[in-house]
């Protein structure tokens, strides 16, 4: 991030200049020789300098996402998906990509703190030992543990060991973006809390009741892949699924739906109730939208799916389960398993109980393992004030965050990539997590800390995790199965068995009014404005606020970076008389927050949405004081939506850094699309004149007899999640620039995801388009470069030669796709620890140099060398670009255009293939496959 030094006066400048001159004249010595430090012991089968990949998992909310973490000479540098892991299948979400920066973050906590002063681990142990001895006599009354929701067998066993030792102690768990409604909904429907597992690859008709299964739910990467199995318009034998979505704030799911209905969250329960009535009793639904959805669901019994989002009340979930049961979908498109995360009590209730006890002075010793309740607990619990009544509070976390500052003790936590552990995926599959590096900043794992409580002072996470698995695998098979689990990243056959479900007594037909209330929202008079809380797609509940990559990654539906806003539809904004960036005050039940307005086409009328995770006050230099905290308004009674919010104008403004200022195509065919029916009639609709017959060119045709690299991006598959952008950032050492620089359009992403809204602002059709460098064969950038810094290589990649570049920026001006990025400043910080994080295969660019996508040249070269060494040609799929690898839906295909059987050639032979701005005769190597949606033929696309 860029930090300009304060301006200096003339004398200061003269002093520095003369000092620099004197140094230049007098210090004519070479830099010291570089050193090579050899290993002590050789490692059989390992090649010096070659990257190694470790299979492990990262968790969020207790749900594991399998990954392969790349280690270059012992330094974790990049995260890839684990193809064997059911939640990944080789891809990841944007958040996992950012977690490598979270690991290296120089702002992480480095020391044990006592009342804000540096203390030692030994001092903490002394304090704790004395305290625990006293607690043991009282059976541990007043001892409380607070963790995040967890699925880890090891951690849960340790917690049980603590509870066994101190009979009066209690364990609480807290997750701001929790799945309470999901589990409670299953309890209403089936009599016990269960976790639904969806099979989108079998669901031909899907109705989402504000369930953002592509962007928010555990297993979303897998869902996206499965969902796209049935969205292959070129495969005429496979049916194409149809997605109906009802939601308030446009989400990835809504944007990708064939039919979307915008309603305030509180009214979605009524829709569910009406639909249930229509499906069970027949008749006609009140609206055409609902009727067509109902008819579609009705005609796809056993191959349809209705699902509700975590923000919808439990009753809506119960209704969805009931409808799925009636439609015969249970066991076909949805199954149920024991919840992977441990829920002895629901997360919301668990934290509320703790807060009540704290207020009442019944908590003596509180151990907060990895959580930040002072920041993210519901406002009505007044957690910070409750914490003041706890005599001994110990916080364990990556940062000295809001909670750490108010606790008596703080212990730096080890990152998930620094410690052993285990966790379950959304379908119950277990992964043993292995560390890639010893704790960089002296962090301790939760296992070590819990060990203290049961009198084990020297717990090592490896031994404890292995002991758990010794029990499960048995002594005989331990070594073999342990190694196998670590090698593959999953414990074989550990997915949870599907439960047989039977409907509970009288589960259904809660009246509409009932569905509207419940655990999700508060009731109030109609006509009142509603506020909806959603997790930020990248900062989540705020825990990733210190990760600059995630801060600067444009939000899929707002294109905002570094800030959040009060989001509303154009009509409500006009009604309030506010415009974008105008600060408004939101008041709910006496609590107040201030946020700038951002108008979002397609947002439901009568509601305003705020993303959680912003407004951190103590998240390091990167994460602090960015955006406005929605937690100020969020109560435990209405954690997802509440009515009765009042909005008043302040007349002030806060500029918002959006990377795209215009979302209309203005009649140009940038994203080409059609309905499935129209495509079946006219498959060549996407071909324009320039695609069929390239115009005459003044440039000579250059032959590419060897490999000719090319890319195809399928706009039908692209869900717009943004994973490609951040994976590219991680792979190619792309710097972040900060909000001020984004405001002047200087973001550096090599692949951006553009969003286009067509149609009326109240109900637009949204399309996403990832735009990397097009690698034009007739590249406009090359003709204008005075120093040949922009040239083609022998395989057709348009390369940027950093050492030649003198920064005229002519190329950027002549690029019709605006994909070139200029280093206006030295954006890459001079932080030694971050140097260790960077990809050693990619040059770090300096100030004054142009840069852009080069098809992950380093991966091409590396793969080519391996093939050349073996005297063979590259196989198709051997070179995988970073964006391609991370894409959950495999929308990006890369390969050799000279290989007639390559996937990219097959993709480009689709009638949907077209070139962006092809009439400019740039002959791009990257082309697109037109977007097909499954709507009726006559509807606009």
């Amino acid at each position: 991030m860029l930090d300009l030094p304060p301006l200096m006066d003339r004398r200061e400048a003269m002093k520095l200049m003369s000092a620099a001159l004197a140094l230049a004249a007098g210090g004519c010595a070479h830099p010291p020789l570089d050193q090579i430090v050899p290993y002590l012991e050789g490692q059989e089968g390992r090649d010096y300098g070659e990257p190694l990949y470790f299979a492990t998992a990262l968790t969020q909310g207790g749900y594991a996402q399998g990954i392969l973490a790349r280690s270059n000479m012992g330094r974790p540098t990049k995260i890839e998906g684990n193809p064997r892991h059911p939640a990944s299948l080789g891809a990841t979400t944007p958040i996992e990509q950012g977690r490598i920066l979270e690991l290296w973050d120089p702002g992480r906590s480095r020391a044990v703190l006592h009342d804000g002063e540096i203390a030692s681990w030994d001092e903490l142990m002394t304090m704790l030992t004395a305290r625990l001895a006293r607690l043991q006599t009282s059976g541990g009354a007043g001892l409380r543990l607070l963790t995040r929701s967890s699925s880890s067998p090891t951690l849960l066993a340790l917690i049980d060991a603590v509870l066994a030792r101190y009979s009066q102690a209690r364990w609480h768990h807290h997750e701001p973006v929790n799945r309470d409604n999901v589990h409670e909904g299953a309890r209403l429907a089936f009599g016990r809390p269960l976790e639904p597992v969806y099979h989108f690859d079998r669901a031909v008709t899907v109705l989402s009741l504000e369930a953002d299964f592509l962007g928010c739910m555990p297993g979303k990467v897998r869902h996206a892949r499965d969902y796209m199995q049935l969205r292959r318009p070129d495969d005429s034998r496979s049916p194409m699924s149809r997605l109906y979505a009802v939601e308030c704030m446009p989400s990835l799911t809504g944007a990708n739906a064939d039919y979307r209905l915008a309603l305030p969250s509180s009214r979605i329960g009524a829709v569910a109730a009406e639909l249930a009535a229509r499906l069970s009793r027949g008749g006609k639904a009140s609206s055409a939208w609902l009727e067509s959805a109902a008819a579609d669901l009705d005609s796809h019994r056993g191959s349809s799916l209705i699902l509700a989002g975590e923000g919808q009340p439990a009753q809506v979930h119960a209704l969805a389960h009931d409808m799925n049961g009636r439609l015969g979908n249970i066991g076909k498109t949805v199954d149920f398993i024991q919840p992977p995360v441990e829920i002895r009590e629901l997360a919301g209730a668990s934290l509320a109980a703790l807060a009540a006890d704290m207020h009442a002075g019944r908590v003596d010793t509180l151990l907060i393992l990895d959580g930040n309740p002072v920041y993210d607990a519901p406002a009505d619990l007044e957690f910070a004030r409750a914490l003041e009544r706890v005599p001994a509070s110990i916080h364990h976390g990556l940062l000295v965050d809001e909670t750490a500052q108010r606790c008596a003790w703080h212990v730096p936590a080890a990152h998930e990539l620094e410690t052993w552990g285990d966790a379950r995926a959304f379908d119950g599959t277990l992964t043993i997590q292995q560390p890639l590096i010893a704790p960089l900043y002296g962090g301790k794992s939760a296992i070590e800390l819990l060990g203290l409580l049961i009198g084990e002072l020297g717990y090592v996470s490896h031994d404890v995790v292995r002991a758990t698995w010794r029990q499960r695998f048995g002594d005989q098979q331990l070594e073999q199965r342990w190694r196998e689990a670590l090698r593959t990243g999953i414990v074989a056959d550990s997915a949870s068995a599907f439960e047989k479900v039977t409907a509970a007594e009288n589960p259904t037909a809660p009246p509409a009014a009932h569905a509207e209330r419940g655990a999700g929202g508060s009731d109030a008079a109609p006509g009142e404005l509603e506020i909806v809380f959603r997790p930020d797609p990248f900062l989540w509940d705020g825990r990733y606020a210190q990760v600059a990559w995630l801060q600067e990654l444009p939000r899929p539906l707002t294109q905002l970076t570094w800030d959040n806003a009060a989001m509303m539809c154009p009509r409500l904004a006009a009604q309030l008389g506010v415009q974008n960036e105008e600060l408004v005050e939101l008041e709910l039940e006496g609590r107040v927050a201030e946020a700038p307005v951002w108008i979002v086409p397609g947002h439901a009328d009568g509601a305003v949405t705020m993303m959680l995770g912003w407004g951190r006050t103590s998240a390091g230099t990167v994460g602090s004081l960015r955006g406005s905290s929605a937690y100020a308004l969020r109560s435990s009674r209405a954690p997802w939506f509440a009515r009765g919010v009042r909005i008043t104008r302040t007349g002030r403004r806060r500029p918002l850094a959006s990377v795209q200022g215009h979302h209309g195509m203005e009649g140009r065919d940038i994203v080409r699309g059609a309905s499935l029916a129209a495509y079946r009639v006219n498959s060549g609709f996407a071909k324009k004149k320039a695609d069929i017959e390239p115009p005459e060119s003044l440039y000579p045709d250059v032959p590419y007899p060897g490999y000719a690299w090319g890319m195809s991006i399928d706009l039908t598959s692209c869900i717009g999640c943004g994973a490609c952008t951040i994976a590219c950032q991680a792979e190619n050492n792309i710097p972040t620039v900060g909000k001020q620089q984004v405001l002047v359009g200087r973001e550096m992403h090599w692949i951006r995801v553009d969003r286009y809204d067509e149609g009326p602002p109240s109900a637009p059709r949204t399309a996403f388009q990832p735009v990397p460098c097009m690698q034009c064969e007739h590249a406009p950038c090359e003709a204008v470069c005075p120093v040949e810094a922009s040239v083609h290589d022998a395989e057709g990649i348009n390369v940027q030669v950093y050492n030649r570049c003198i920064g005229t920026r002519f190329c950027e001006n002549n690029c019709p796709y605006k994909v070139r990025r200029f280093n206006f400043f030295g954006y890459t910080p001079n932080t030694p620890i971050l140097d260790a994080m960077r990809n050693p295969d990619v040059t770090v660019r300096t100030r004054g140099v142009m840069e852009k996508c080069n098809y992950c040249l380093q991966r091409v070269v590396r793969a080519r060398i391996v093939a050349d060494r073996e005297n063979r040609t590259l196989h198709d799929g051997e070179v995988v670009t970073a964006c391609q690898a991370v894409c959950p839906t495999q929308a990006i295909v890369f390969g050799d255009l000279n290989d007639p059987r390559s996937q990219v050639r097959i993709a480009k032979s689709s009638p949907r293939n077209y070139a962006l701005l092809g009439d400019l005769d740039t002959r791009p190597r990257t082309t697109y496959l037109a977007r097909i949606v499954n709507t009726a033929a006559d509807e606009p696309v």
Binding site: C28, H30, P31, L33, D34, Q35, I36, V37, P38, Y39, L40, E41, G42, Q43, D47, Y48, G49, E50, P705, G706, V791, D793, A794, E795, I797, V799, V801, Y802, N803, D841, V842, T843, V844, N854, L857, Q858, V860, V861, I865, D868, R869, N871
Partner: protein, 216 residues
């Protein structure tokens, strides 16, 4: 009227020449400053005075005994200390010159070698592909088997790299000769090189001289 006296003119001329000389000297200094260190042909002093002449020339140890990954990694690899100790736990066990090695192997302190060959960070050189495609060690590293202390034998400038990338035939060796320190191009190297180029399936000169072959 003459403004400048002849003496002053002389002084001015000498002064101007002096300034010119200073600029030239400055340029030379600057060039030396930006040159890679250590200079070509300067033996590099190491903590342990490791002699390739002794190990390779006299004892006949193959390059790959220590530089194990040269055939399948970008880096040739510096041997782990355990490799040194396979012999030196038996030989010269009390030699004072090996004291740092023994101390490092016992974990008392680290042993750091000074780099002899160093490329800028924006250049990506891969040993394995050169080995696989008929470029021998001595083509770039010289007669290492005759160096008591290792010294740099190639300028490592882009011009030098391209000299071979434009015309690899002059340096291609048969696969059996890669690790032969005393290999010299035979009289018919042109013809041999041409045949070897086909044998090794070398890429086109266009690709070998593309920027992206070494810079990414």
């Amino acid at each position: 009227m003459q403004v400048f006296s002849p003496g002053l003119v002389l002084a001015l001329k000498i002064g101007a020449l002096g300034a010119l000389a200073a600029v030239v000297a400055g340029l030379f200094l600057w060039r030396r400053y930006i040159a890679l260190e250590p200079a070509m042909g300067d033996p590099v002093v190491q903590v342990v005075p490791f002699s390739h002449k002794h190990h390779v020339g006299d004892d006949g140890i193959d390059c790959r005994y220590c530089h194990t990954s040269v055939g399948h990694s970008a880096f040739a690899g510096i041997p782990p200390l355990s490799t040194c100790m396979t012999c030196h736990s038996q030989l010269f066990t009390t030699a004072p010159v090996l004291a740092p090695l023994r101390a490092a192997f016992a974990g008392e302190r680290t042993l750091s070698w000074n780099r002899v060959y160093e490329l800028p960070d924006f250049v990506y050189f891969d040993h394995s592909i050169h080995i696989a495609k008929g470029i021998g060690c001595s083509s770039c590293h010289g007669r290492v088997d005759q160096m008591p202390l290792t010294e740099r034998q190639a300028p490592l400038t882009m011009q030098w790299c391209l000299g071979c990338h434009k015309d690899p035939e002059q340096q291609l060796r048969p696969p059996t000769q890669i690790f032969n320190m005393s290999w010299r191009p035979p009289a018919n190297q042109r013809e041999l090189g041409h045949r070897l180029r086909l044998f090794y399936h070398l890429h086109s000169t266009r690709l070998l001289t593309s920027c992206s072959t070494c810079h990414h």
